[in-house]
Symmetry: C2
Subunit: 388 residues, 2 copies
């Protein structure tokens, strides 16, 4: 029997990332401006790398706590107190080998074969894919597009609940749309899941990247209790330019601590101590760098939005958070094809909207968390291409 | 609804590691000699740490290849050519975030709800636990103990196959027993799975730790073709004292490359580049250190075995590979209780045999990959305890 036929169907049929597909199409092209992945252009700042080096130099290369080293869990508690006003303690925070792994652990905790999880779409494709690998079904509920903003029809979200539903996954601010749930929406979703005994998987990874004066996006932490059935998935990647490190965290009701420890034990068995010391430095000393990141993204957005809007040939809703412009081009409905032609003809790498589900078709995602100069060049090339 | 009741049953019921249970029982005890986990006492050697630091200093902190950086995959191909005589190319090797993750990916590839996987027991408990989290069933087949060695009744192994069986997991040399499959056994298992269209998950993590003159243990690579349905799981942890790093590799038929990439994408999305440069140094420059590790383990075994056997009150089979003594003490049948009393009364940490399944009950696992001085002290304390 050949390998592909012998594989478990859920593994064989796990989708290739539609983003990676376009990246691979043009990875080797010269003069490329890569705006297709959710990653800035700054390397991890020195003070974080130094903390990793120091731990390595101390010989901290042995097995450690599955849940994360106590110092980092305490730092996560301080971070949440500082920025979310919640003094919920260190025991609810668990260190994971990426935000993606936090999602995988959350999925393993709540959904298996025959179960369903509901999520608004367009959405980062890795969430529904992780659901599929567990043998569960991810049920998309489309956000509605208008130039005034993407909106979530909450009644439609609730109407998707069936006896098989185990959780609602909510990513706010949203990758790729920039949609952001207000506090009332979060409270309404919480009320519904409380009534039905469902879980929320809260992906608030872009919480600190919001437009305007607010310090952060509304959070389920604003409206919930510590024992609510909410699994928060988060990452060090975006705030502190640590995309390549693969470290994140999961926050969960403390009662399930042993379960989370077991799920970590049987996945990757924890995160390197020297990685955790780097993350600790990021939390405790990283606010200045994060402010710089946010300011760069905001400036980047202004550049890209102004130049593309001036073509008069794009449609988009101004993002309320995260660091993406999610836009359509008049006359271009096949986003995979469009993204490939754009990168081939201009060298600007964009992610095709179809990678974020059917509700994303016709759109393209552009990451603007990068240098103004690079974004100006990219915007000029794109505007020329659009105006042809 | 409370969190524990609302969890997926397979998550709620994932077993706590029976090793960690005893470790937690006495983690804070003073004057502890920790022989309970599969970890030596040497930190990662300098040349490996230096390679990680150099990569960090180069600013290699961005997303990278999901399958692993090409240079490391090439080094894995060289390593397998050098030590296993197989020139099977780089495309079959995938970098993972620990040997444990390689196991998890292998499980996800072959077994889901309703499926069964067969494995000889006693066994490292993380494998059956990973199977359980996927909603599949791990079916143990006991190895038979005699003071001349543990033996696998291969007919009994095959008799456990049912229409639901998807794979056989074989760990050789075995943790915890030190049992090692000979080439004829490997060939017979391969023949059977070929006939039935089953997978082998080959855990050859301890391949380089064997007693006597042989450079390595017999491997499925000695008897198979590159396209056989075999998933090799491996780790940098044991050979190069990198337990705390969490980096390993999976080797698989190249035809399933995209599937493995997808499974990695939706688990942890890859391994940090600076980790991979450390692993590359380990493969290319690590033979001298590995020889030292093996020599220390061999010396350690001699110390422990001589001293404990002299009590006349232990039973064990001389290990053929790996670095554990798996022994029972006359009159002690409850291994969890015995391990707790021993650590409380002597400060020597041992893993209870029951942690490795019912077939391990009555035994204790001692890791001898440590300094002679420490092992002498531990063996003296244990011998005194046994002789009381």
């Amino acid at each position: 029997m050949d390998a592909m036929s012998a594989l478990r169907p859920e593994a064989r049929e796990a989708p290739e990332s539609g983003i990676v597909e376009v990246v691979n199409f043009a990875r080797e092209r010269g003069d490329l401006i890569p705006l297709w992945v959710g990653e800035g252009d700054l390397p991890t700042p020195d003070f974080i790398r130094v903390a990793a080096n120091a731990s390595l130099a101390r010989g901290e290369t042995f097995y450690t706590y599955q849940r994360g080293i106590p110092a980092l869990r305490e730092a996560l508690a301080r971070y949440h107190l500082r920025h979310f006003g919640r003094d919920w303690g260190a025991e609810r925070h668990f260190v994971t080998g990426s935000g993606m792994q936090a999602i995988q652990l959350a999925v393993q905790a709540v959904a298996g074969a025959g179960d369903e999880v509901i999520y608004p779409e367009p959405a980062w494709p890795n969430f529904p894919a992780a659901i599929g690998i567990m043998g569960a079904r991810a049920i998309p509920v489309p956000l509605d597009f208008s130039p005034n903003g993407w909106t979530l029809d909450i009644d439609r979200l609730f109407a998707a609940v069936t006896p098989r539903t185990r959780a609602i996954y909510l990513n706010s601010p949203s990758n790729p749309t920039g949609w952001m749930a207000d506090k009332e929406t979060l409270a309404a979703i919480l009320e519904e899941v409380r009534r039905r005994g469902l879980w929320i998987v809260a992906d608030e990874v872009y919480s600190r990247f919001v437009e305007g004066e607010a310090a952060r996006a509304p959070s389920f932490m604003d409206v919930s209790d510590p024992d609510d059935l909410i699994l928060y998935v988060n990452t060090f990647s975006k705030n502190w330019a640590m995309t390549g490190w693969r470290i994140g965290w999961l926050s969960a009701p403390p009662a399930m601590g042993q379960v989370v420890e077991n799920l970590i034990q049987y996945s990757t068995s924890g995160v390197a101590q020297f990685m955790q010391h780097a993350a600790l430095a990021a939390l405790d000393e990283g606010e200045e760098f994060l402010a710089l990141q946010r300011q760069r993204a905001s400036a980047g957005r202004t550049i890209v939005e102004a130049r593309l809007a001036a073509t008069g040939r794009i449609r988009y809703a101004p993002p309320q958070g995260a660091f993406y412009l999610f836009f359509g081009i008049d006359g271009q409905s096949d986003s995979r094809d469009t993204a490939k032609r754009i990168v081939a003809e201009t060298g600007v790498g964009l992610a095709p909207g179809i990678a974020f589900g059917a509700a994303g078709e016709g759109f393209l995602r552009l990451c603007f968390a990068r240098s103004a100069r690079q974004l100006e060049t990219a915007a000029d090339r794109l505007a020329d291409w659009i105006a042809r």
